[in-house]
């Protein structure tokens, strides 16, 4: 029993629709109380024995979720918005109660559902470290012991006695994460905290989380960032509409998730137009990664052009629509945005029909590794995003070792987020040449 950290059995959580959005006013209760006898009377007269009209529909955010996590495991939890990921973490961190089922937890739990919880803008950085630490369950002595380390990690030494309201948003986030990162629970529950801060700080956080797991602590990591899930977690649990639909090695579960349209992770199609991302103006039907010859491919040679194809139905004519793709690398770094520049459809309202827009990325441009991309269609004037499908497709770029790519004959790690093959020129002053412009050392002298 000692090697189990978390065990969930049949966890379920029911929300009443609207319960999260608004509190009740006594007025509503009173009017309900007065209205319902009449409603009941009316429905009785109509002999409609079915549901009473004022009974609110329920949503099961989680239904029958069971799993077991061993001590020292780092487990990712993925799923679309509303799949129940956050609800699961809230139950495990005791913020809300399950409706049915139970969970057993062995070990001190630290939850990082949001960085900077309880930060008070009027208090100084120093005060907030103590306050935030205490809120997250740290002892005062523990915080005092780690204080210098926290301040150094956050890189806010100079501003430690300045009220937090004068901090830049970057400093604010860094300080908040620094406190959280120094929490030393046996079980750490993390929700999307890495979606903030600049790239170098994100990387620092990822490294810190990795070192946490190396110390034998159990980590449950909820994320939208497929690449950091695969990198940090050996095992991943996939939630869909409140149920566990996948549980296993991360790369397998992540590709199941990305494939959960149709086909490979390099292609996703939406058969049912009603369920496809979009609105009454436009709906997304497919996103594909293709080669020059038009075949769907998951793996691309770094030297070859890559086509990103978006198929969409325009349901309401008269809108200027700009398809765009958003590229992220495996560390979740936002690489670039590609926005449609086809002169034919620039500033021109689209008629009601099906379109396929393709963006071509030249060969010898991207760096090797996994790219995850989101697809969106927007109208620019006024700005309106018709849909934005995160993690729509993913593909791998593989570098060549033939010597004709940007890395040349070097076979080691080749850093950088792009790997363009640039044109190089050389000038030299050889033997007998006059007016050596660069003063190149001449070996013959």
């Amino acid at each position: 029993m000692t090697d189990v950290a978390i065990r969930c059995r049949g966890l379920a959580k029911k929300y009443r629709i609207g319960e999260r959005e608004s509190y009740k006013a006594l007025r509503d209760i009173i009017t309900d109380a007065f209205a319902s006898p009449f409603r009941r009377l009316r429905s009785a007269l109509r002999h409609s024995s079915s549901s009473t009209p004022n009974e609110k529909p329920n949503i099961w955010a989680l239904k029958d979720v069971s799993f077991e996590i061993k001590r020292g495991e780092v487990v990712g939890i993925i799923g679309r918005n509303g799949a129940g990921k956050s609800t699961l973490l809230k139950i495990l961190s005791r913020i809300t109660e399950p409706t049915h089922g139970h969970a057993d937890i062995w070990g001190r739990v630290g939850s990082l559902l949001e960085v900077g919880t309880g930060f008070h803008p009027e208090l100084t950085g120093r005060d907030n470290i103590f306050l935030n630490g205490a809120i997250m369950g740290m002892r005062k002595t523990e915080i005092a012991r780690k204080f210098d380390e926290i301040v150094a990690f956050a890189e806010v030494e100079k501003f430690i006695d300045t009220p937090v309201k004068r901090y830049s948003s970057g400093m604010h986030v860094r300080l908040a994460f620094a406190v959280a990162a120094h929490l030393e629970p046996e079980i750490l529950l993390v929700d999307e905290v890495l979606a903030v801060g600049d790239a170098s700080f994100q990387k620092k956080c990822l490294n810190k989380m990795q070192s946490v797991s190396e110390h034998g602590r159990t980590v449950l990591f909820v994320s939208h960032n497929m690449s950091s899930v695969t990198r940090l977690c050996e095992r991943t649990i996939l939630l869909d509409a409140g149920s566990v639909t996948g549980d296993g090695p991360s790369h397998e579960v992540v590709s199941v998730y990305l494939k959960s349209g149709v086909g490979t992770s390099a292609q996703r199609e939406w058969d049912d137009v009603q369920k496809a991302p979009g609105n009454d103006v436009v709906r997304l039907r497919a996103v594909r990664i293709i080669t020059e010859s038009g075949e769907v491919t998951e793996t691309v040679d770094i030297r070859h052009p890559i086509g990103i194809e978006m198929e969409f139905d325009v349901l309401k004519p008269g809108f200027v629509l700009v398809p765009n793709f958003h590229f992220f690398n495996e560390e979740g770094l936002y690489l670039f945005v590609a926005s449609d520049h086809d002169p034919q459809w620039r500033r021109r309202p689209r008629p009601e029909c099906r379109f396929i827009s393709t963006a071509w990325i030249p060969g010898n441009f991207l760096s090797e590794g996994t790219l995850v991309l989101g697809a969106a269609i927007s109208t620019m004037d006024p700005v309106r995003v018709h849909f934005y499908e995160r993690d729509a497709v993913a593909f791998h770029v593989v570098d060549s070792l033939d010597g004709d790519s940007a890395r040349g004959d070097y076979a080691g790690p080749f850093p950088g987020v792009v790997r363009p093959l640039l044109k190089w020129t050389t000038q030299y002053s050889g033997e007998g040449a006059t007016g050596a412009r660069f003063g190149v050392e001449d070996s013959s002298r």
Partner: protein, 296 residues
């Protein structure tokens, strides 16, 4: 108060958690709670440091960006006392049991201000800390408790003035002053009892927030702050004790000034009322607590 720092933490707060070090890992079971729930007092004790920090935060933030700062703690009861003295003492000639009217009303205003502050703050505490409630677990009882404790600082500051007034009017305290801490605690417990009900209700029905000012105003008039409870006929006085603040205020005057009569039956009625309200409030709060994060 602005130079209050963490070095002021009494060493007793710095007890390390035995469960964190031992080889035995703590086990917790998370399941839907049913029927009568325990008050979770041991859990509360575990989190006593957080109670301290939240109290400290409330105190520290309270007078930030105010020009007069902690002086407000004295100004409020002082001005109220002056107005009371002018209108009730001088013009309406309300009898004050032979005590100089300014002292008479100020000694009542001390517990009253503490009570009014504690009641207002604790009733809003859950809603005001919405972000904490939806993001972190801790015993929710800490919220109203911390906001009540924060009121003590104002009380202590305002209390210094009463000492000066007693010297000025030549009123010597009697042995009854030893019961003063009891009345201070009783004031806070009364506020806690009512505050627990209101803060939990406030989560579901924001009407509470709007009625709160009215409740406090109403309660002030119903309490013997500007007048003496001796205005109430003796045989009705035990019923007057149903307002616990009547017992508290008369007790306070007696403990501090020693001149008025010790509140007898009236006080015991007040104590009984507070016990009922507090115990009921604790259970109601604990029952409602599980939906706080979903509803707030």
């Amino acid at each position: 108060m602005s130079d209050l720092t963490f070095t002021d933490i009494p060493p007793s707060c710095a007890v390390s958690d035995p469960s964190a070090e031992g080889p035995e890992r703590p086990h917790a079971r998370i399941e839907p709670s049913k029927g009568w729930i325990s008050l979770g007092l041991s859990d509360l004790w575990q989190y006593r440091e957080l109670l301290f920090f939240l109290t400290w935060r409330d105190i520290k933030v309270r007078y930030k960006q105010t020009a007069l700062g902690a002086a407000w703690a004295v100004i409020q009861p002082l001005l109220t006392m002056l107005v009371f003295t002018l209108f009730f003492g001088r013009l309406a000639k309300v009898p004050s049991d032979g005590i100089p009217y300014p002292l008479f009303s100020y000694t009542a205003l001390l517990p009253w201000q503490l009570f009014a502050y504690a009641l207002t703050e604790s009733s809003n505490s859950v809603v005001a800390n919405e972000r904490l409630i939806t993001k972190v677990y801790f015993p929710r009882l800490i919220l109203p408790l911390a906001s009540i404790l924060a009121g003590l600082v104002d009380f202590v500051i305002a209390f210094t003035l009463v000492i000066g007034m007693m010297v000025w009017y030549g009123v010597k305290p009697t042995g009854a002053i030893l019961t003063l801490p009891f009345f201070v605690i009783f004031t806070m417990v009364t506020a806690l009892g009512v505050g627990l009900w209101l803060s939990a209700l406030n989560v579901q029905y924001r009407d509470v927030r709007y009625t709160l000012t009215f409740i406090v105003q109403f309660w002030l008039i119903a309490s013997p702050v500007a007048y003496s409870s001796t205005l109430v006929p003796a045989r009705w006085r035990p019923f007057y004790g149903l307002n616990p603040m009547a017992g508290v205020i008369e007790g306070f005057r007696w403990a501090l000034l020693g001149k008025a009569q010790a509140p007898g039956t009236m006080l015991w009625v007040s104590v009984a009322v507070v016990v009922v309200v507090l115990v009921g409030g604790l259970y109601y709060y604990r029952r409602m607590e599980k939906i706080f994060a979903d509803v707030v």
